[in-house]
């Protein structure tokens, strides 16, 4: 970088101060939530908690992890995330790879075929009726199939493959008799590692945080993903865990601190994972996103 002397120091300090302030403001709500989740219910209810736990306790977490609805939500969501991410990745990459090849038969048509639905759609109700007629309502599949292919992501992957992997390399292999599948598995996939990492993170986060499908397509609580369980507790405040209608004094008064523990427990898995993907999504999104 080009630097020019003493004025710069002041400028740099200014930049750092603003950036630090921004980072602090971003972290502030999270720190408060973590602190509250480890605090005694009474301290939370009386507003004595700041950025550090008051009357440290693990009882909130003990209660969260003994609630069957939350545990089942965790289990369901884990299944949806694993299976859903696999399907998402397979469909997105098998769509993107041919689109990236300049010798694809009817390439113009196929590009249009995938781009048009990005801007035109049937909307909530016609889609609901399709899912309903496929008998998918209240099934495992309703959580992972509808919406599993991000068309924008397909275009991003296509762009990445066509710019980052020289076509000549594939051509050479073809002349040596390699079939499409082998090309895809041995040349294209290994070379698309950054975009694969980004897309895996995207898919996993998307499925972990998925709520919409469960709202529209799932009505049986055995199939509820974690987010739907959370919605009942955090947004609608309706759950036996936080007092329900049973008249249990202790439970009722612990509701707030419990909510904070639930927020931490539900978000921690992804917050702990994403930093490891950071270098990929900075790189992957750049190359894929520019032309997309």
């Amino acid at each position: 970088m080009v630097e020019n002397g003493g004025k710069d120091k002041v400028f740099n300090c200014g930049v750092c101060a603003v950036a630090a302030a921004y980072a602090f403001v971003t972290l502030l709500p999270l720190l408060y939530i973590v602190a509250s989740s480890f605090s005694a219910p009474d301290a939370v209810n009386t507003g004595r908690v700041g950025l550090w736990p008051v009357d440290f306790t693990l009882s909130n977490y003990a209660r969260v992890f003994s609630d069957t609805a939350i545990l089942r939500g965790y289990l369901n969501t884990s299944l949806y995330t694993v299976a859903g991410s696999a399907i998402t990745l397979i469909l997105q990459f098998t769509a993107a790879y041919p689109l990236s090849r300049r010798d694809l038969a009817g390439k113009k048509f196929w590009n249009l075929f995938f781009v048009v639905p990005m801007f035109v759609g049937g909307g909530m109700i016609p889609t609901y009726i399709v899912v309903k007629s496929l008998k998918m309502l209240n099934t495992f599949w309703a959580m992972i199939i509808p919406g599993c292919v991000g068309l924008f992501n397909v275009i991003v992957i296509r762009t990445y493959i066509s710019t980052a992997i020289p076509y000549e390399m594939q051509e050479a292999a073809m002349i040596d008799g390699a079939g499409n599948l082998r090309l895809f598995l041995t040349i294209v996939l290994p070379l698309s590692r950054p975009i694969l990492a980004v897309m895996t993170l995207y898919a996993a986060v998307g499925h972990w945080n998925a709520y919409f499908n469960s709202l529209i397509y799932i009505t049986r609580d055995e199939l509820f993903p974690l987010q739907r369980v959370l919605q009942r507790i955090l947004v609608s405040s309706e759950s036996n865990l936080i007092g329900g209608s049973l008249g249990d004094t202790e439970k009722t008064l612990a509701a707030e601190s419990l909510k904070y523990a639930i927020i931490v427990a539900a978000s921690a898995p992804i917050l702990l994972i994403y930093p490891f993907f950071q270098r990929f999504f900075e790189k992957g999104l750049m190359i894929g996103g520019l032309k997309g």
């Binding site: 750092c16 709500p29 694809l104 035109v120 909530m124």
Partner: protein
């Protein structure tokens, strides 16, 4: 680059075949797209029927434009349309400008570890789910126990619940959205800035340009075209995003400001005792038409003002 016609005839034939066999790859995703994207577009026909579950699509009676008229004549038609547009315009405006500023800021940080830490922190909220973010808002805004009122008390603001207020709804929606997405949306700009040709900076320094003027005259022009594309795309999606969050944030008090087309569709269909699917589909169709119109306008304006546009 190699010339295809220069290949031996047999090999070129193999290549051609390979291009056709490639279609097999597309089968799963094409089936998916047909079923979950094109089929619902066809399903919009129910907007013109009196569709009911008992008779099904094939034998439900024809209704013509009845449902469109019913929606347009509804007393709160304009309120819903206004809310939808206001929330979209507000978020698009903020979400187009702020990430650029953040990216320019991050780009100026010279201490590597610090830069990296700020970036890592900036992404964190993006990975928190909408449900949890709205849950946080409800907890913070709680009248008796919320941190907002506790903070308000310190500076003498009268207690209240911002989630109940129609006046504050769009601001709460946008500000919480910025908190969540700012760092993430800045990524591609940060990447673009890292790729700015150093010779441009060197030339500017020779011309006696300071840091601020270099940001303005060297860095900013580099990312504006990208920002225009992002802007057009977000306008195209303006009416389709936000359902989850708006729906979750709705309360009796903020409904005059928080009822948007998509939540209204949900309310009259899946939330209703006897779902009015046709009416809901008609509103959905209207929603899509407005979306396309907005996209076209945004693209038109971008083309008139500068060189960048989608088509």
């Amino acid at each position: 680059m190699r010339n295809e016609t220069a290949l031996p005839a047999k090999k070129s034939g193999a290549l051609k075949k390979s291009g056709r066999r490639l279609l097999w790859f597309l089968v799963p995703s094409a089936v998916y797209v047909v079923v979950f994207h094109y089929l619902p577009i066809g399903g919009l026909v129910i907007a013109f029927l009196d569709y009911n579950s008992y008779q099904g699509i094939l034998s439900s009676p024809w209704a013509g434009f009845k449902h469109f008229a019913a929606f347009a004549l509804m007393p709160n038609f304009f309120t819903i349309l206004k809310n939808t547009l206001l929330i979209s315009v507000y978020s698009i405006a903020v979400n187009t400008v702020l990430p650029i500023i953040l990216a320019l800021l991050i780009n100026e940080i010279r201490v590597k570890w610090f830069k990296k830490s700020v970036q890592t922190i900036s992404y964190a909220p993006y990975f928190i789910s909408t449900v949890v973010v709205v849950g946080m808002l409800f907890s913070f805004a709680d009248y008796d126990r919320g941190v907002f009122n506790a903070a308000g008390r310190l500076v003498g603001i009268p207690a209240g619940n911002i989630l109940e207020s129609a006046k504050w709804f769009s601001t709460v929606y946008v500000v919480s959205g910025v908190w969540q997405g700012l760092g993430w949306w800045a990524i591609i700009y940060v990447g673009a800035l890292a790729g700015v040709d150093q010779s441009l900076h060197e030339a500017a320094v020779l011309d006696g340009a300071g840091r601020l003027s270099r940001i303005r005259h060297v860095n900013l022009p580099q990312i504006v075209p990208m920002a225009v594309i992002m802007f057009i795309l977000s306008v195209g999606n303006a009416l389709n995003v936000g359902f989850e969050k708006v729906f979750l944030m709705q309360t009796g008090g903020n409904l005059p400001a928080s009822e948007i087309l998509s939540t209204y569709i949900y309310r009259v269909s899946l939330m209703s005792k006897l779902p009015q699917y046709s009416y809901a589909a008609a509103i959905g169709l209207f929603n899509s038409a407005v979306s396309l119109l907005l996209l076209w306008i945004a693209n038109f304006v971008a083309r008139k003002l500068g060189e960048t546009s989608l088509w």
